[in-house]
Structure formats: structure tokens, C-alpha cells
């Protein structure tokens, strides 16, 4: 059996062993790695570049990814996460966050927004979901 098949994921030779990254315990017992990768590409980095970096980060040992709907790149990051999971990384070893954007604070808009992020990221649950800002906007979802 090749080395790659013995490993849960083809970590780079110079990677940090994900098992060596300390984790903090959340109130319900979940364990979050003490460092994560941010995924906001700002106004200078494309979604494709961010998604490629997520894949590279997983090879380097990252397991914690901080995402958000408003970053506009969750479908692309989802493709990278699928690659990571299909290669053998266990879902429970990943810690994936997303966030509710300000235009979806209407009572009927929250769950569909969450489900869109879940679908875009290609997952069947998220580890953490945040209210991105405590300030809603009034623009209806349909016009965004």
C-alpha cells in the first residue's frame, strides 16, 4: 500500500501534523483548533484563489476554515472541501464555520440562508454558524 493510501490525506512533507494542533473545548464539548484559516479575499483575491489556498492549507495541516456567505466564495471553497473529504479526511476532524449575512435577518430568511451555505460548502452539517453583524439591512433577499 502506498504512503498516500496509508495517510488520511496526502499531507505535504513539510506539513504540520493536524493531530499536533491544539484544540479548545467549546461549551458543548466540541473541539476547535486554536488557529483557523480566514477566507475573506477582500477586494484583491478571487474566489478561485481562495479555494485553491484552502486545498493547499489542508495539505499543510489546517482543519479549521472560517467562511461566510458574504465572501461570495462558498461554492468554490465547497469544491475544495469535497476534495479534502473524498481523499479520506474525516468530517469530524474538520471545523467549518459560516455566517449569516445582514440582509437575511428576517425570521423566514435565516434557515434558507443557512441551508444555502451548507449546500454551497457541500456539507451536511456545520460546526459553527455566526450572526455576522448585529445590524440588519432592510433590502429584501429577492432584490439582492
Amino acid at each position: 500500500m502506498s504512503k498516500a493510501m496509508n495517510r488520511p490525506y496526502p499531507l505535504a512533507d513539510d506539513a504540520v501534523d493536524p493531530d499536533h494542533i491544539p484544540r479548545k473545548t467549546l461549551p458543548n464539548g466540541a473541539r476547535i483548533p486554536v488557529i483557523g484559516m480566514g477566507t475573506f479575499g477582500s477586494d484583491s483575491v478571487t474566489g478561485d484563489q481562495v479555494a485553491a489556498a484552502v486545498l493547499e492549507a489542508a495539505r499543510l495541516g489546517y482543519r479549521h476554515f472560517d467562511c461566510a456567505a458574504v465572501y461570495g466564495n462558498e461554492p468554490l471553497i465547497g469544491a475544495s472541501l469535497r476534495t479534502v473529504l473524498e481523499s479520506g479526511v474525516k468530517r469530524e476532524d474538520l471545523f467549518v464555520t459560516s455566517k449569516l449575512w445582514n440582509n437575511n435577518h428576517g425570521e423566514a430568511d435565516v434557515v434558507p440562508s443557512f441551508e444555502k451555505s451548507l449546500r454551497d460548502l457541500g456539507l451536511d452539517y456545520l460546526d459553527l454558524y455566526l450572526v455576522h453583524w448585529p445590524f440588519p439591512t432592510t433590502t429584501p433577499r429577492a432584490s439582492m
Binding site: 483557523g36 484559516m37 489546517y62 479549521h64 455566517k99 455566526l130 445590524f135
Partner: protein, 204 residues
């Protein structure tokens, strides 16, 4: 700086709790394991902690050596939440709208540079090591392989000494970079109004 968005609305606790109850329902359905807040203040968190059935597990907030938010950080930790720190290296790639002439640069601070020199690491790594040693979770962004790797390595490196932590504690400049001015809900407000600086929620 970009002016406010014309559809921005103030914090109304009742509306926030409507959102929060939907998040709680997602936990009940097993679709999300933890729920949390972001960009909050102590007076807002007081109300959420009072009224939430499932308490926030984390608060994500801007945290870097020049913006340490000591009071909010200690509040969050004391109530069992984990602080997640964004812009942990001072967000050198932040959007143009979030740049002002008064902003300071963490990685050029002589204290940070000196600690990096002694440890043989880049000042960026010192900022991340400070975050981890202090107990917040930094979420640095990069698309460059060597930066991604150097950032991750701080999680398996020697924590900063008590002396170095004390030195960095003394360089806070209250320099908020992500001011949020687009979220101002009426004219003639300043971005400080978003952050409840006098300890109560800014009136609508």
C-alpha cells in the same frame, strides 16, 4: 471612507433574538453543532446571554496587538465563550473602504519586531503567537503557501513568555481597523456609534 449603506438598520434586540431562535432551531435539528455571535459589544451580549436558550459558544471579534479589546475579551472568556480573533495580523489586505490615515501597523511595532528578531520569526508570527498564548483563536488569511505554513506553525511553537506577553499588552493603541461605517443607520453618526462606547447600546 465609504459612507453608510442606505438600507442599514440599528440593533433591535427583539429582532436579533428572532434570528437567534432560528439558529437555535438549527442546533435542535442537528444541522449545526455550535452557534455564536460576531462584532458584538458587552451591552448587546448582556441581553443575548439573558435571553438565549442556547448561549453563544463563541464571539468573533477584531483582535490584534494594536486592538486588544481587553474589556470585551475578558467578558467573553469569563462567560465561557471562546473568542475568535479576526484581522489577527492587522489585516494588511483589508478593503480600501476600511483604510484611514490614522491606522497603525502591528507588524511594524518595535516591540513586535524585537520579539520576532529574538525568536527568529517574522513579526506576523509574533502577532499570531500572541493571540494563541492569550487564548483567542486567530484566523489569518493568506493564499501564499509559505505564509499559510508559517502561520500554522505558530500553533505548535513555544508560547510567548510572560515578559513578552506583558510587553505586548502595553502596546495596545485602540486602533480598530474594521470600523463598520457602512452599517450606520442614520446620517451624522460616526462609526463609534456602532460599538456602544459608553457602555450602553446606542439609541436608535
Amino acid at each position: 471612507m465609504t459612507s453608510r449603506a442606505h438600507d442599514a438598520k440599528p440593533y433591535i434586540h427583539e429582532n436579533y433574538m428572532t434570528v437567534w431562535r432560528q439558529l437555535e432551531s438549527l442546533v435542535d435539528r442537528g444541522l449545526v453543532r455550535n452557534i455564536g455571535t460576531s462584532n458584538m459589544t458587552i451591552p448587546k451580549l448582556e441581553l443575548v446571554l439573558r435571553d438565549a436558550r442556547i448561549k453563544p459558544a463563541v464571539n468573533e471579534m477584531e483582535l490584534h496587538p494594536h486592538f486588544q479589546q481587553r474589556e470585551l475579551f475578558e467578558y467573553v472568556v469569563a462567560r465561557g465563550m471562546v473568542p475568535i480573533g479576526y484581522s489577527p495580523i492587522g489585516s494588511p489586505g483589508r478593503p480600501e473602504r476600511d483604510r484611514t490615515p490614522e491606522d497603525t501597523v502591528d507588524v511594524e511595532d518595535p516591540v513586535i519586531v524585537d520579539i520576532g528578531r529574538r525568536r527568529g520569526v517574522h513579526p506576523v508570527s509574533v502577532c499570531l503567537q500572541w493571540a494563541i498564548t492569550r487564548g483567542q483563536i486567530p484566523i489569518p488569511f493568506s493564499v501564499k503557501r509559505h505564509n499559510l505554513l508559517a502561520n500554522l506553525k505558530t500553533a505548535v511553537s513555544e508560547p510567548l513568555s510572560t515578559t513578552d506577553m506583558a510587553a505586548i499588552a502595553a502596546i495596545g493603541k485602540n486602533c480598530r481597523l474594521i470600523k463598520g461605517q457602512v452599517f450606520l443607520w442614520k446620517d451624522n453618526q460616526s462609526w463609534e456609534d456602532l460599538w456602544d462606547q459608553d457602555g450602553r447600546i446606542t439609541p436608535t
